[in-house]
């Protein structure tokens, strides 16, 4: 089962990418292929999650190419990666629908977007994200990153306008730097241990002197820190993300930084359980939260404001990671899942605002609550969720982190607890300010936006539907918070136990014979 299913979240989107490229002249077919495949991948991810959760170890692994695990590349589905897969593919699937809506909606402007490029690249992006979650090999994790980054470079600069190219340069160069540092970290790691298999590393790294362990850890954490946008490695993000087309920004904001967070969680638990840098992580978490949210308050553009809240809330996840307790990791995992969905939803809602009002400059918005009540609801609910208003999922994640911090009880942990609630308050201030202006403030000049949307066209309905779907999913996080948080908690236990992952990779009966069975003889 796992043998077949685990590679599919990568294999299927890549096959579909090839197919859509071949079908470059048939946009309708491209669309069908993309939707069907991403939908299927979402379904597969759910099955993988259910399977992993039900399995004895809580983790299942398969080896690519049927090689012995320690030689080849393994793919692992444990509770953490399965949760990330499900959330990640939910986002890519939902945003695809939104993008289809918007793409067609934009067509009325008269210039068709280069769809022949959008679908394959978007599928490659999905494959990269999934691969990063599945990889049980440090280099393969790097490859996953490269795949998703290469696709993201293309998507970010879609349309090639001046601001996008400028933002693209910042983004590409920073990402390349991060990849280079990642490679340095991989080099260090292989030099010291002679392997890159994560499970093997888990067994071997402990034998290294503590300082050497920290050396490897530092290189990897800086690399992931750039990707995850942890202060002071975060400034590139608000300068690049908001310029992309809305659905792209939504996926980037929701998903890509979280791949970095996922990688941090993975290496912190599996490779470096000694906790040498936990204090440092907590400090950076605090700085990330506060600097990020102050940035959000200072913004005049809705998408840029949201990008800063994104940076700020990465701090919450790092907070949980830095605590390095079960409760801390559980909080971080829940928060990651919550934040992926909520940030995506908010950017999609911002896209609706842009669509309805023709701008995301906050000073040029106004009166949307009256003109577009549906958009208002679709913005308000996720915005309050982001600000951690109970009983929405943002509150639940935050509460988990607060409880975890209180459990640790050190002065630094309490400082983080204080910083968390302060950030929460300032987030509320930032989003409520925007709400006051964009939705309640009366429109000053009547001629500016052609605010009469008229009867909703089917494409717009698709955009609104996708956003509403995400909103419903985020509400589901509240309704089913009990089992979901329980899952996050079990995932955190697995992470700290480390054994399930290692056993799943290295100590399971090999699937097929280790030597190729010669099949057939006749040509």
């Amino acid at each position: 089962m796992i043998r077949v299913l685990a590679p599919l979240p990568v294999l299927l989107p890549l096959l579909a990418a090839g197919l859509t490229l071949v079908l470059g002249r048939f946009p309708r077919l491209q669309r069908t292929v993309a939707v069907a495949v991403l939908g299927a991948v979402l379904g597969i991810s759910v099955v993988l999650l259910v399977n992993a959760n039900a399995s004895a170890l809580g983790a299942e692994a398969t080896t690519v190419g049927g090689w012995p695990a320690e030689l080849g590349i393994s793919l692992v589905v444990d509770r953490l990666s399965a949760v990330m897969l499900v959330v990640g593919t939910t986002v890519t699937f939902g945003v695809l629908l939104y993008a289809i809506g918007q793409g067609s909606a934009d067509a009325r402007e008269g210039d068709p977007p280069p769809v022949s490029i959008f679908y394959p690249t978007y599928l490659v992006l999905t494959a990269g994200v999934c691969n990063a979650f599945l990889a049980a090999d440090l280099f393969n994790l790097f490859v996953g990153f490269e795949v998703l980054l290469a696709a993201s470079y293309v998507l970010l600069t879609l349309g090639g306008t001046g601001p996008r190219i400028r933002a693209g340069v910042t983004y590409v160069v920073m990402s390349l730097l991060s990849s280079t540092i990642f490679l340095i970290g991989i080099g260090f790691t292989y030099a010291a241990t002679g392997t890159l298999n994560l499970a093997q590393l888990a067994e071997r790294i402990g034998a290294l002197p503590e300082a050497t362990q920290t050396l490897l850890q530092v290189a990897l954490l800086v690399a992931f820190g750039i990707k995850a946008a942890v202060f002071p490695l975060s400034a590139w993000l608000p300068d690049s993300y908001p310029t992309a087309p809305t659905p792209i920004t939504a996926v980037f904001a929701g998903l890509l930084t979280k791949v970095g967070v996922y990688a941090i969680i993975r290496v912190q638990t599996l490779l470096f359980p000694s906790g040498a840098l936990d204090g440092l992580l907590l400090w950076t978490a605090l700085a990330t939260m506060l600097v990020g949210i102050l940035g959000a308050i200072a913004q005049t553009d809705l998408k840029r404001m949201l990008s800063f809240t994104l940076v700020s809330h990465i701090g919450y996840m790092v907070f949980g990671i830095g605590l390095a307790t079960t409760a801390g990791f559980a909080g971080a995992i829940f928060y990651v899942a919550h934040h992926i969905l909520i940030q995506t939803t908010l950017f999609l809602a911002a896209g609706l605002v842009e669509f309805g009002a023709g701008s995301t400059l906050i000073s040029r918005l106004g009166g949307l609550a009256r003109v577009a009540p549906v958009i208002a609801v679709l913005f308000f609910v996720p915005a309050m969720n982001l600000a951690g208003i109970p009983p929405l999922s943002g509150f639940i994640g935050k509460l988990g982190l607060l409880e975890a911090g209180a459990q640790v009880g050190s002065p630094l942990a309490w400082a983080l607890v204080g910083g968390s609630v302060l950030t929460s308050l300032l987030t509320l201030y930032a989003v409520a300010k925007v709400w006051n202006r964009a939705f309640w403030h009366p429109v000053e000049n009547d001629d500016a936006p052609e605010s009469e949307p008229g009867p909703m066209r089917s494409q717009v309905r698709l955009m609104v539907g996708a956003t509403a779907g995400f909103t419903v999913v985020t509400l589901g996080l509240t309704v089913f918070a009990g089992p979901l948080y329980g899952l996050a908690d079990r995932a955190a236990q697995d992470l700290l136990a480390r054994r399930p992952y290692v056993d799943a990779v290295l100590h399971q009966p090999a699937p097929a014979g280790p030597v190729a069975a010669p099949v057939g003889g006749a040509p």
Binding site: V64, W67, P120, A150, L233, I297, E403, L428, A516, P523
Partner: protein, 953 residues
Amino acid sequence: MLLLIAAQLVAALLAPALVRWWGPRAFFALALVPAATFGWLLAALPRLTAEGAVREQVGWIPTLRLDLDLRIDALAALMALLVTGVGALILLYSRWYFADEREGLGRYAFSFMAFAGAMLGLVVSDNVLLLYVFWELTTIFSYLLIAQYYDVRSSRRAALQALIVTTFGGLAMLVGFVLLGAVSGSYQLSYLVAHPPQGGVAVAAAVLLLLGVLSKSAIVPLHFWLPSAMAAPTPVSAYLHAAAMVKAGIYLIARMNPQFAALPVWRWSLLVLGAAGLLVGAWKALRQADLKLLLAYGTVSQLGFMAFSFGIGTPQAALAGVLLIVAHALYKSTTFLVVGAIDHATGTRDLRLLSGLGRRAPLLALAAALGIASMIGVPPLLGFVAKDAVYEAARGTLPAGPGPVVLVAVTFLGAVLTVAYGVRFWWGAFATWDPDRPEADRARPTHAVGRGIVAAPLLLALAGLGAGLTLPWLGPALARAAGTPELEVGLWHGIGLPLLASLAGLLGGAVLVVALRRRGAVRALVPEHLEAQAQYRRLMRGLDRVAGEVTGATQRGSLPFYLGAALVVLAALLLWVLLAGGRPALPGGWEPWDSPAEAWVAVLTVIAVVAAARSRQRLAAVLLVGVSGYAMVAIFVMRGAPDLALTQALVETCTLVAFVLVLRKLPKTIRHRHSGRQRARRLLIAIPLGVLVAVGGAVALGMRTAPAISERFPGPVYDFGGGRNIVNVILVDLRAWDTFGEISVLLAAATGVASLVFLRRPTGSPPQLDQNARRRTALPAQHRTFLRGGLAVAAENRSVVLELATRVLFPTMIVLSVYLLFAGHNVPGGGFTGGLVAGLALVVRYLAAGRYELGEAAPIDAGLVLGLGLLFAGGTGAAALLTGGAVLQSTIWTATLPLFGDVKLVSALFFDIGVYLVVVGLVLDILRSLGAELDRREESAGAAPNAGGEPAR
């Protein structure tokens, strides 16, 4: 109970639809929900009395110990009755208040009902986290309700201010709860009250909780949001700002009092801040001309009074506090509703303009009179009973508290002021003033005060009277709610201090009213700049400024700055680790190089890199960067890795071609030079970082604990992978998953190049000679020949030598590439190198004869090649899955063919073909985009001015 709360929330969701169908009459239906809850509570009272408390528990998030844990004891029941009873009446009232309003009514109905549900949940929660959930929900819905008329600036500002202030307090309270939970191991409210923590934790928790209480219940100094919140519609004020929401904090005090009353910080805070609120609020109420604002400050005053009362700390004081809660809920909602009715009928709330309303609306005046009488403590109304109880409590005090004299004096002073503003309210609203002043100044009633709109305030006012009169029956219940069943609540305690003080207070108030009328307007006592409101504004402005400054400092918008920051972080951390780790151990048998040639290569690389950084010529810089690439080729060769060397050389060449194609569009020289300081700064980062990384690598290598995994590769690579070229088997089998990912990177890169160059034009195959051009070449179409595209190139741009060489090179290279592809599994080569060679063959043809030749050589869309390549590679993986192997697992077929002998075919070959295609596709894509398309643009740009004649010089 849970069902009833849910019912309110469901009703909230249905409310907009109901309002759309039925208009304001929908409020009748909506009022049924809280009314039914009220009835249920009444019916449950006997059970409650018998059992002490009714509980209900449903699990929600057990991991976080956040469960739907409800408990109705006497206090909760009392609060719930108030919340639902007053709520139902105000909904009834809304039917008439909003009789001629349609816009936003659905929104109002939703928020109001949801608020009612949240408030109900708040008072019956037995889990402090759940309590916080409802607490914050009331904040959010109050935000929406305050800004009901959001077109008005003050409404929006007031809503935001209320939101921020109360959420601030709420979050502090949440931290307090988490602290309590962490220390005592439970979030159950009843458990926490029964097991109070000790020492510093208790103090910290008490302070945090107090912040929540102060902000929610508008107690000085966090009271300022409440008067601003009067921008809300009056029914909202009557409910949120009188009966329900602002009582949440007081309710929490009442709940926590048994636990915290022993703490001086808790009691003193309540006493001091409560007294301050009582006096400041009442004083400011005296100064208001707007009836609603007057009531708002009156509320601030009364809420302070309640806090003060609880702060005394004795059981009697707790009882007095509970009585105040009930009395205030009844009379303050009455008076607010009266103001709403006045506003509705006359269009003003200014007591200087109103006159003669008492005669026109006697019932309304009666309701107001009863309300005010209760407020100022006229017997036998409930307000009198409550005030009486406070005096009673003030006489006895705890050891570490202020003396009775102070307490009684404060209460008395508050009472005098309350009487004064109470009388001023009623007089201002209903009396007939200054008959000699011209009528024009007065507000004219736009319509008579309707009967319906009077019903709710009158009922509430009568409830206050009834409660006072039925005290013998009601008293024990109220005492139980206060947790002091042993105390007696009575209307008549005989002639003693309380009664005398009450009467003296009434008298004093009357004197004050008269005195103030003589002296004219009441002047401000507190300077404006000390006002909490102004402080809040200043704080928020400061916040915005700090946010701007911090962001300006960190968010420079400069890529070099960001790069520098990241590199400095890395360097600092590496330095710290290497220093902290003691003397770095170098690997055993450390040698600087294996052969001196390596050193020379290294030196060459360094020189090339430095020269590249210093070069002013773009092309030169690119070539110099290429030198370091070729230096790697040399290293690979010296290390005995021909395969890697070959690949590296080909990659380097292709990269150079791509670079050169792009450089055509850029200026030849790099004009922008960095200043010496900038360069020094960069060197200061670059050189140490380089050294640190090198040292780090050496240290890591020196710590090697286990043999490298690659040492185990050779055997399985041949047995299981079926190939003798270990590099190729690693690429297409052992680590094929990596390769699969990397070719999708190539694919993405190719689409990116095409996307940027073609932008919105559809991409396609490279340009081919169209029929006209073919005819011009005077060659029959079926005459297949090389370099026909060159015929479209101007003669002076053609090179005969190059064309001739190409005729030889192209087929050779294609054959070589195919050979490399098929032989790669066993000898140096493989799909990647093969693809590169084929790509270079295309490059050669393009360079020899221009863009049309490219189309002639490869008349297909690059996307098709790329897509097919990925499909091939992925298909190989999928096929392995379908045949029961692991993904990308190789199958080896052996056969004996005539002529060829024993032939071994490994399925990884198909994967390699995919790689080959993707690489060819990439090169083709780059050529068609950066080559052919840019050529076309240059030509059309060059042709355009010519078409218009000679360009003017």
